[in-house]
């Protein structure tokens, strides 16, 4: 009897498979904190979590696991996420980066899937480029509230960008115009309105896409997706730009750009050692422990 018995339809050995998988989450705010919690519930064994920020009172309306005590103590978001993950899956390996994810790219290189809960277009663009260069599927989440009083529209999207499929630029989420507009604001995406329930819908959708990649449960899994969320009607539909970009080679990330362009086997650069996966993490996967 395993704590994951109720999800055995995910695959005959899905407990072991998920226990051996590593996910990266960049940004542990409203979206990323939900994703971390759900990945722990499904039994992911190893996490790379990155966020430079500490809990503030304005995060209390949506950050899963965050408490008033965390606001008082200025608890780092990575520490809150670790607490949530280990509260569910005690022996999960949690590699924390209380900084921008770029400072520990060596950890993100080893992920099987990367999820971005990042606000700025520039940050999304950079994380996708990194994922493409290292042959890792990237799932991007974003939400916004548009309009004025009485006319608010909650909208969001979840995009799956796998190597060899349309990228965020192909699907119109990242454009030079948006990057320029953001740069004019000095890269500050601003304190956009955010609420917990759309974050939850988008995070669940992102985890659903990740589970199609990590387990063989789905008869026709997707490797690319652009799902648009309308929070006013409560619907998720396929984005029109996605259909237009299907079947066309992605011109933004050529296959020949995979890997480190400066790689030279004759003079290997000094590299940081990625921590080995813990003995406890492996034992707990074998024993079916959370």
């Amino acid at each position: 009897m395993s704590w994951l018995d109720r999800q055995s339809f995910l695959g005959a050995d899905s407990d072991t498979v998920l226990g051996a998988r590593r996910v990266g989450i960049a940004g542990l705010g409203g979206g990323g904190s939900h994703v971390a919690q759900q990945f722990a519930h499904v039994g992911i064994g190893s996490f790379v979590l990155a966020d430079p920020d500490a809990m503030e009172d304005t995060n209390l309306n949506r950050l899963v696991g965050g408490t008033r005590a965390d606001v008082r103590r200025k608890t780092l978001k990575v520490d809150i996420a670790e607490r949530v993950v280990k509260g569910i899956r005690r022996y999960a390996e949690v590699l924390k980066i209380a900084d921008r994810w770029q400072t520990r790219g060596d950890l993100f290189k080893t992920c099987d899937v990367i999820v971005g809960g990042l606000d700025s277009v520039r940050a999304k663009d950079e994380l996708e480029a990194f994922s493409r260069r290292h042959l890792i599927a990237y799932i991007d989440m974003g939400m916004d509230v548009h309009g004025a009083a009485g006319q608010h529209l909650i909208a969001g999207q979840v995009m799956l960008s796998s190597p060899g499929t349309p990228c965020l630029r192909c699907m119109g989420l990242v454009t030079d115009k948006l990057l320029e507009r953001e740069a004019a604001k000095y890269g500050n995406a601003g304190g956009n309105p955010q609420v917990v329930w759309p974050n939850g819908v988008l995070a669940s959708t992102a985890v659903g896409l990740a589970m199609q990649i990590l387990t063989p449960w789905h008869p026709a899994p997707v490797e690319t997706a652009f799902l648009e969320y309308d929070g006013n009607t409560g619907t998720i539909t396929a984005g029109t730009r996605h259909a237009q970009s299907l079947g066309r080679p992605c011109p933004h990330y050529p296959d020949d750009e995979r890997g480190d362009p400066g790689f030279d086997v004759r003079s290997p650069k000094p590299v940081e050692h990625a921590p080995a996966r813990g003995l406890w993490a492996r034992l707990s996967a074998l024993l079916g422990l959370p």
Binding site: D106, R258, G259, F263, H273
Partner: protein
């Protein structure tokens, strides 16, 4: 130094489909993967970039072995890899399921031609790879003068993501 090799599912499927095609006289087909590389701790990740089949006309009749390819095939493969300064991986398929092993002939011939890859692209690791229908084995050299090391595992990136050929 350990090596892991990653492919997109599309590229791996393309190679397997190509290598299954019968040839007029060769018993098996040969192709080449190119790959980029990154280091991670004591690990090198080879990230497959492209696949190029050996053209029909570049096989040499030799009933004693599965396939023999001529110098033109090697030259074209090196040109193919040279453009983007890629690793070059000679690949053929043994069919069947489970982790395949190189034959003695594979290892002997590989020890002759793989060092030559370093003359064209000395900065990258090179090697040889054998596929089955669901797994693979590879020997990778980091130096033309040193023996190859078995890759510790493979990943097919797609939906679902599949890991195979583990030797860690």
């Amino acid at each position: 130094m350990k090596t892991q090799i990653k492919f997109t599912r599309y590229l791996l499927d393309r190679a397997r489909t190509d290598l299954r095609r019968p040839h007029a006289f060769a018993h098996e087909r040969v192709g080449f993967f190119t790959a980029g590389a990154v280091t991670n701790g004591d690990m090198v990740l080879l990230l497959a970039r492209s696949y190029a089949p050996v053209e029909d006309a570049d096989y040499i009749y030799n009933p004693k072995v599965g396939a023999t390819i001529g110098s033109d095939a090697m030259r074209k493969a090196l040109q193919f890899a040279y453009r983007a300064r890629s690793s070059l991986l000679h690949v053929h398929c043994h069919g069947g399921r489970g982790r395949p092993e190189f034959s003695g002939v594979d290892l002997d011939s590989g020890s002759e031609f793989v060092p030559g890859f370093f003359h064209a692209i000395p900065r990258m690791p090179h090697g040889m790879l054998v596929l089955s229908e669901d797994s693979a084995t590879a020997k990778i050299r980091f130096d033309e003068t040193k023996a190859g090391q078995y890759a510790s595992g493979f990943t097919s990136v797609g939906a679902p993501l599949v890991k195979f050929g583990d030797r860690s």
